[in-house]
C-alpha cells in the first residue's frame, strides 16, 4: 500500500480525503453507510454564534450536472454543537474540523474562541465564502482587505491549524489567497459554491426562495480545477481542493493541479459511500502508477 498521508499545517491526515462542510452533516448521518474512521477528516456544517433557521423553502434546484442550494447556514449555534454534538463525535478516529461563520469579525472571533477550547477539533475552516447569507459570509471573501482583516483577527485567537475557505465569486482568487496567507492562514480550501440561479419558465418565477443560490457538483469542476491550479501557483501554504469531485479520478486531477488534500461535497448526496471509494481509488491509482507516496503527486502536473 502506498503512503497516503499528507500534512496540512500541524494537521497530520491519514489520507487526502475529507468531506465538505454542509454536505456531510455532522458525520453521524453517514454512520450507517461507511466507517467514518476511514476518512482523513470531516468538516462539519457551518456554525454561527447563535441558532440560525436559515433561508425559507425551496432551498434546492437541480441543474445540469449539479445543484443550487440556498440553505443559508441553518445551524443550532456553536454552543449547541459543543454541548450536544461534539461529545458524540469527538472520539471518532478522524479529524473533526469546524466550519466557522459570522456576520461580523466579532462573531467569527466569538465562535473561534469557543472552538479553540475543544481538545478534539485540531483545525477550523474559516468560511468567508458563503453566498447565501445577507450579512458577512461571502462579503469577507471577495476583497483582499476584508479577507485579510478577518483572517488576521481569527489568527490572533486561534492556536491550531487555520484553513481559510475561499469564494470563487471573485475576479482574482489568487490575490485573495495571497492576502489570507499573509494574514496567517495555515492553508486555503477552495472552492465554495458559485453564485447562480434557476428559473421555472412555466411559472415565470425563480425556483429558489432567495432567487440566487450556490452552484455545486460536476458542473463547476473545470472552473474549480483552474482555480486550485492558480492558487497553488500563487501561495506556499497547502491548498485543499474541491468542487464537483465525484470519483477518485477527479480527486487525482485536483491533486495534480496542486491540491495537497481534497474535500468531497455534493457527491455524498448521490452516493453516501463515495468518500471511502475515493480513498480506495486513490490508493489503486498510486499502485498502478508505481508511486510510493501521494505527496509526490501534489502539483505534479506535467506541462512540458
Amino acid at each position: 500500500m502506498a503512503d497516503l498521508s499528507v500534512k496540512i499545517g500541524d494537521l497530520q491526515l491519514k489520507n487526502p480525503v475529507m468531506t465538505a462542510s454542509g454536505t456531510f452533516g455532522f458525520g453521524e448521518e453517514f454512520a450507517d453507510f461507511i466507517d467514518l474512521n476511514r476518512l482523513a477528516g470531516i468538516v462539519v456544517k457551518g456554525l454561527t454564534p447563535k441558532l440560525r433557521e436559515g433561508n425559507p423553502y425551496p432551498r434546492m434546484a437541480e441543474t445540469a450536472s449539479g445543484m443550487l442550494n440556498t440553505v443559508g447556514l441553518q445551524n443550532r449555534g456553536v454552543d449547541y454543537f459543543i454541548n450536544h454534538i461534539y461529545p458524540r463525535i469527538k472520539d471518532l478516529d478522524t479529524h473533526i474540523i469546524v466550519n466557522v461563520n459570522g456576520s461580523t469579525v466579532e462573531e467569527y472571533i466569538e465562535v473561534t474562541k469557543k472552538i479553540n477550547k475543544l481538545a478534539n477539533v485540531p483545525a477550523m475552516e474559516l468560511n468567508i465564502s458563503c453566498p447565501n447569507v445577507k450579512e458577512g459570509g461571502m462579503a469577507f471573501g471577495v476583497s483582499c482587505p476584508s479577507a485579510m482583516a478577518v483572517t488576521k483577527a481569527v489568527r490572533e485567537v486561534y492556536d491550531r491549524t487555520l484553513i481559510v475557505k475561499l469564494s470563487p465569486n471573485v475576479t482574482a482568487i489568487d490575490d485573495i489567497a495571497i492576502a489570507v496567507e499573509e494574514a496567517g492562514a495555515d492553508a486555503v480550501s477552495l472552492v465554495n459554491t458559485f453564485l447562480g440561479m434557476a428559473i421555472d419558465a412555466e411559472k415565470q418565477k425563480p425556483i429558489l426562495s432567495t432567487i440566487t443560490g450556490g452552484l455545486s457538483g460536476p458542473a463547476i469542476k473545470p472552473i474549480a480545477l483552474r482555480m486550485v491550479w492558480q492558487v497553488s501557483q500563487a501561495v506556499e501554504i497547502p491548498v485543499i481542493g474541491m468542487g464537483g469531485i465525484m470519483d477518485a479520478t477527479d480527486a487525482i486531477e485536483f491533486i495534480l493541479a496542486g491540491a495537497s488534500a481534497i474535500q468531497v461535497g455534493t457527491a455524498n448526496f448521490i452516493d453516501p459511500q463515495v468518500s471511502v471509494k475515493i480513498i480506495e481509488g486513490i490508493d489503486e491509482y498510486l499502485e498502478q502508477h508505481d508511486i510510493d507516496s501521494i505527496a509526490e503527486l501534489v502539483g505534479a502536473l506535467n506541462i512540458d
Binding site: 454536505t23 423553502y57 434546492m60 441543474t63 450536472s65 445543484m67 441553518q74 460536476p218
Partner: protein, 256 residues
C-alpha cells in the same frame, strides 16, 4: 439501519400511460420498513437527472425481498425509471424517514389526492393488524388518476371524488360527503398536493381531530445531510426527510 443496495428490477406493471408500479428485488433480507418510509433511487446515465429521486415504499414482501413503488411520470427521472426492464440494476438507499403513528382506537379516515396514494398500503396493513376500521377517500382530476382502488378495497370502504365527475362524487376531496360524518373518525391521514393537505388539515383542526400528513418536499440527499428539504414547524425548521415526511398538523405552522 439505513442501507445502500444494488437492487434488481423484477417487474414493471403499467397502470396507465403515466403511472406504473416498479418492483425491485433487494440483494439481502429487508430491514424493518414502517408505513410512511421512503427510498432514494439512483437514476444512472443521465445528465438531466443528477440527484436521486425519492419514492414512498408502497409494499414489501419479506419472503422474496421485493419492494414496490407507485410512480407517476412527471419529468426526466420518472420517465427514465419507466424504461427499465427486468434484470436492470437500480441503486437504492432505504428505508428513510419517520412513519405514521397508529391510534389506540379507530375508525380512521385516509385521504389521498392525485398521486398521494403510495403511503397508505403499508399503513392500512398495520391498521388492519391492530383491528382499526379504515375509510378511504381518494380524489383526482379524472377517473384516470384514481388508481390502486382494488387493493385498497381489501382494507376498508373506499370513496372517490373526481373534478370532472368521471368517477365517484364530482368535486374536490374536501367537498366529499364523508366529511359530514367527520365526528365518527378518531384520526385522519392525508397525502397529496399541499393545498389539499392544508384543506384536510383545516377540517381536522376545526373538528379537533388528530391529523397526520405526509409531505413531499424537494430533496437533495434524503438522509439528513443537506438541509434542503426543510419545513417550518413550531419548534423551528425540520428536515422532511428525517424528522418527516410524516408530520402532525399541530406541529406545523400552517395557517389553518
Amino acid at each position: 439501519m439505513k442501507k445502500v443496495s444494488d437492487c434488481t428490477v423484477n417487474q414493471i406493471i403499467w397502470l396507465n400511460e403515466n403511472n406504473f408500479l416498479l418492483e425491485l428485488i433487494a440483494p439481502d433480507s429487508l430491514p424493518d420498513i414502517r408505513p410512511g418510509n421512503f427510498a432514494e433511487l439512483r437514476i444512472d446515465d443521465s445528465r438531466d437527472v443528477f440527484l436521486r429521486r425519492p419514492f414512498t415504499i408502497l409494499e414489501t414482501d419479506k419472503t422474496n425481498n421485493t419492494i414496490r413503488f407507485f410512480i407517476k411520470i412527471i419529468g426526466a427521472g420518472t420517465r427514465k425509471l419507466g424504461t427499465l426492464s427486468e434484470g436492470d440494476q437500480v441503486n437504492m438507499i432505504f428505508p428513510l424517514g419517520n412513519s405514521f403513528s397508529i391510534p389506540v382506537k379507530g375508525p380512521v379516515l385516509i385521504v389521498g389526492g392525485g398521486s398521494g396514494i403510495a403511503p397508505f398500503i403499508l399503513l392500512a396493513k398495520e391498521l388492519q393488524n391492530q383491528g382499526i376500521p379504515i375509510t378511504f377517500l381518494f380524489g383526482g382530476r379524472t377517473h384516470q388518476e384514481i388508481l390502486l382502488i382494488d387493493q385498497y378495497k381489501a382494507f376498508g370502504e373506499v370513496f372517490i371524488t373526481t373534478e370532472d365527475g368521471s368517477a365517484g362524487e364530482k368535486g374536490v376531496v374536501t367537498q366529499h360527503s364523508v366529511f359530514n360524518k367527520i365526528a365518527n373518525y378518531n384520526m385522519i391521514y392525508a397525502c397529496g398536493p399541499e393545498p389539499m393537505m392544508k384543506a384536510i388539515g383545516n377540517i381536522a383542526h376545526h373538528h379537533n381531530k388528530s391529523c397526520e400528513v405526509s409531505l413531499e418536499n424537494m430533496m437533495a440527499c434524503g438522509f439528513g445531510a443537506c438541509l434542503c428539504c426543510i419545513v417550518e414547524t413550531k419548534s423551528g425548521n425540520q428536515r422532511v426527510c428525517t424528522e418527516g415526511p410524516v408530520f402532525n398538523i399541530n406541529d406545523l405552522t400552517w395557517q389553518i
